[in-house]
């Protein structure tokens, strides 16, 4: 399965090091005496060439490196400039273009870690730059060329989760011609969305919206559906995963897949003990409210209060759930426009929510008038006026919020629309949380009016709590199985928040949808399609090249104690038939935890060997290499 490319560099050659010290305009040159640093570099052992450049990353700097490699027969290159995190790939490619193995390149950071943080101490910054280059030389002398392993990729995908993002990912992969296994633990596809009423912006029914997607996934010849099933085991590495899938109560069956997309979704936070939830009737969560609307079982209402950020943004959860402002605004408009449609069949379908106590009151008409007046802010409206009023004024809708996050192109307009329909937005702060209580058989909300600086109480018939999406409680099991990390809030953690939003750091595994944090349907679809495209890349190519950054076991030192196998977070070590530790190169990510743990010193890392790191440390502490 793993092929090694042909080796090109003679390992026994004596090091011939070239050092390129960059001024980066004045970024380094202004705070470090670059010429003296380059002169110093020439005095270090095995350095046969040292120079300074104005901008090493510019084309003349790069061609300088290429020429020097040829002219001085360099077999190690050191660039002392900025950070390897941004520029290592560029200089490594330059070395490769001149025929030098990229693992013989060393980066020395004298900008971020030196000139920029010691701007008022040129002497000390210059001394530090020399030290850093000495450390680089010490490391470079011990570098060895590395070959990147080639691993074949099984062109079959696995998608875990049959919600919107999972279905999108599966359909995209299937359209590209790859067979896909789609695993869903429930009996139906559709995930969280299938229980909702309608969706914001389009206002179309949720079920109708996702119906075409479900139909496509169900009918697609490349998709194998595993409903009522879950993933029980995952072995292997990119291109070569063996996954155990079992139906509920059934037997586990193994499948071979090349890549995996995780799209396991999220749950709604249950606000136990908050704002009278589970204590008073008619205090429901946003999703419960959606269900009432969808099933047309809303009770008769005159006044509805939404409370936003229940349990989120620094309360139970630290984060903003992103979708609830827009969902609440949508529902507020729904109530204003389509309230009548969501009523009426309650009696037939059975009561989901108790009848509102206020309905039983004789003074209802008076209460209603008062409420209506309060909503309009004028006294004494007459019957003639009332005819003109839209349905919105038959129900008073108040959204208690901390901030309204109506971001983007559409949502601000929707928010304005809600305001036009006289939905009231009342801001509250953490110092003055609204209180929900029952008094004289009437549900009430007390809140602090920020403008009036007064505490006020209003009767309401229903309180809708906007609670955040939270991570699946069993996400940890899958995280351990797949060896991918979870963030502090229990959501899956991508490889890079900006540049690799649907990749995991583990190659061959990708993430989409609400299992990595709150997202709406648009975002879930985008991420599902993105994850599918990322997963398809190695499958279409047919192989992957693993970075030569893995642990290496010295068989003569290993005693087979197995400590490394225990600490490896990726299952990349196993015992071979001789009872000695063996590295599965394609699974190893090169963290080096095993190397630090091995009691025999039998494990080191390619390109980060014990000897290299110790040489760096020694060179940092002593004026010699």
């Amino acid at each position: 399965m793993i092929h090694m490319a042909e080796t090109k560099v003679n390992e026994s050659e004596k090091p011939r090091i070239g050092v390129f010290v960059c001024s980066c305009g004045s970024n380094i040159g202004g705070f470090v005496d670059v010429p003296s640093v380059a002169d110093y570099a020439k005095t270090l052992p095995d350095v046969v060439y040292a120079t300074q450049n104005m901008y090493t990353c510019a084309e003349d700097g790069l061609s300088n490196i290429r020429e020097a490699i040829r002219k001085h027969n360099l077999n190690r290159v050191i660039v002392a400039s900025c950070t390897p995190r941004t520029h290592a790939p560029l200089f490594q490619a330059t070395c490769e273009s001149a025929g030098l193995n990229k693992y013989l390149f060393t980066f020395v950071n004298i900008r971020e870690h030196c000139s920029w943080v010691h701007m008022k101490e040129k002497d000390l910054a210059t001394k530090k730059s020399k030290d850093l280059i000495r450390m680089g030389v010490a490391r470079a002398r011990l570098l060895k060329p590395q070959e990147e392993a080639k691993v074949e990729v099984e062109p079959v995908g696995l998608v875990i989760g049959g919600g919107v993002s999972g279905m999108t990912a599966a359909a995209s992969l299937a359209d590209m011609g790859f067979p896909v296994h789609l695993v869903e633990r429930e009996g139906d596809l559709g995930g969280f969305v299938k229980i909702l009423n309608n969706l914001y912006v389009t206002e179309k029914s949720a079920a109708e919206t996702i119906k075409p997607l479900i139909e496509k996934v169900t009918a697609h010849k490349n998709i194998t559906l595993h409903l009522n099933s879950s993933v029980k085991s995952v072995e292997g590495f990119i291109g070569n995963y063996e996954v155990g899938i079992a139906p509920k109560g059934g037997e586990e069956k193994k499948y071979k897949v090349g890549t995996i997309v995780v799209a396991t979704g999220a749950l709604e936070f249950v606000p136990e003990g908050l704002y009278g939830y589970n204590q008073y009737p008619n205090v429901v969560t946003l999703t419960e409210f959606e269900i009432l609307c969808r099933k047309k079982t809303l009770p008769k209402l005159k006044s509805v209060a939404f409370i936003q950020c229940v349990g989120s943004r620094g309360q139970k959860m630290s984060y903003c759930s992103r979708i609830c402002c827009n969902v609440a605004i949508k529902n507020a408009i729904n109530i204003a426009d389509n309230y009548e449609d969501m009523l009426g069949v309650m009696e037939k379908q059975g009561t989901l929510v108790d009848k509102i106590p206020v309905e039983k009151k004789a003074t209802e008409e008076i209460l209603e008038r008062r409420r209506r007046r309060r909503g309009r802010g004028t006294e004494g409206e007459g019957d003639a006026e009332e005819v003109k009023l839209g349905p919105s004024e038959k129900i008073e809708v108040t959204v208690f919020n901390r901030d309204v996050m109506a971001y983007g192109v559409e949502h601000e307009l929707t928010y304005n629309k809600a305001r036009e329909k006289r939905v009231k937005f009342n801001r509250y702060t953490l110092d003055h949380l609204p209180k929900v209580f029952m008094e004289d058989n009437q549900l009430k909300v007390t809140y602090f009016h920020e403008t009036l600086k007064l505490e006020r109480t209003m009767p309401v018939d229903m309180v809708v709590l906007s609670t955040p999406l939270v991570a699946q409680p069993d996400a940890g099991d899958l995280s351990k199985m797949l060896k991918v990390p979870l963030g502090q809030e229990g959501f899956f953690l991508e490889a890079h928040v900006k540049l690799r939003p649907v990749d995991f750091a583990t190659d061959g595994i990708y993430v989409a949808g609400t299992c990595k944090g709150p997202a709406d349907i648009t975002e879930a679809v985008t991420q599902g399609a993105a994850a599918a495209s990322r997963a398809a890349t190695p499958m279409a190519k047919g192989y992957v090249q693993a970075e030569a950054l893995s642990s290496v076991v010295d068989e003569t030192k290993c005693t087979g104690c197995g400590t490394c196998i225990e600490v490896c977070p990726y299952g990349a070590l196993r015992k071979n038939e001789k009872g000695i530790a063996e590295v599965i190169v394609a699974a190893c990510k090169g963290c080096g935890c095993c190397g630090a743990t091995c009691p025999e010193g039998a494990i080191t890392m390619t390109n980060y060997t014990d000897a290299q790191l110790l040489a760096e440390a020694k060179a940092a502490l002593q004026e010699e290499v």
């Binding site: 870690h113 502090q488 963290c591």
Partner: protein
């Protein structure tokens, strides 16, 4: 001039230039140090960063050998708990450093000469603060026992 830079000069005036090794994990702390640079956060110039992929790569032996070669202080910086690029390497680092602190004490080293800090890619300021504080600590402790100090 910021106070930390002044502190650095004072150190020089006392004729003691502390030698501080900082092991930074590639994913969080090294990036945090980069951010400190990009933000031009000034700090004492006596630390030298060694990049490792994960803080868990820092073999206890590296720490002991660096002390033996004359390091006055060693800082190990990794990703915050639950934020490790390699799932949970930092938890192992935490245990190792706790043990190492006990061990170096038996060699006559003040345990404060070894420090573990969680520094994320977004915490340039924390990197600056950590370096400044740690340099002050080492200045107070003076040269290491290997360099004739106590």
């Amino acid at each position: 001039m910021s106070s930390d830079v002044k502190g650095a000069h004072e150190a020089g005036e006392h004729g003691f230039e502390p030698k501080i090794i900082v092991f930074c994990c590639n994913w969080c702390s090294y990036a945090g140090a980069d951010l400190a640079g990009v933000s031009r956060l000034q700090m004492p110039p006596y630390f030298r960063v060694i990049r490792v992929m994960c803080s868990a790569r820092v073999d206890p032996e590296f720490v002991l050998r660096a002390f033996k070669k004359g390091a006055d202080g060693i800082l190990v910086a990794g990703c915050h708990p639950a934020d490790c690029h390699y799932i949970g390497g930092n938890y192992r680092t935490r245990r190792r450093i706790a043990l190492l602190k006990m061990l170096i004490q038996q060699f006559g080293y003040d345990p404060d000469r070894l420090r573990l800090e969680w520094i994320s890619a977004g915490e340039g300021e924390k990197f600056q603060k950590t370096i400044t504080e740690f340099t002050e600590t080492i200045n107070e402790l003076g040269p290491s026992p290997m360099r004739g100090g106590g």
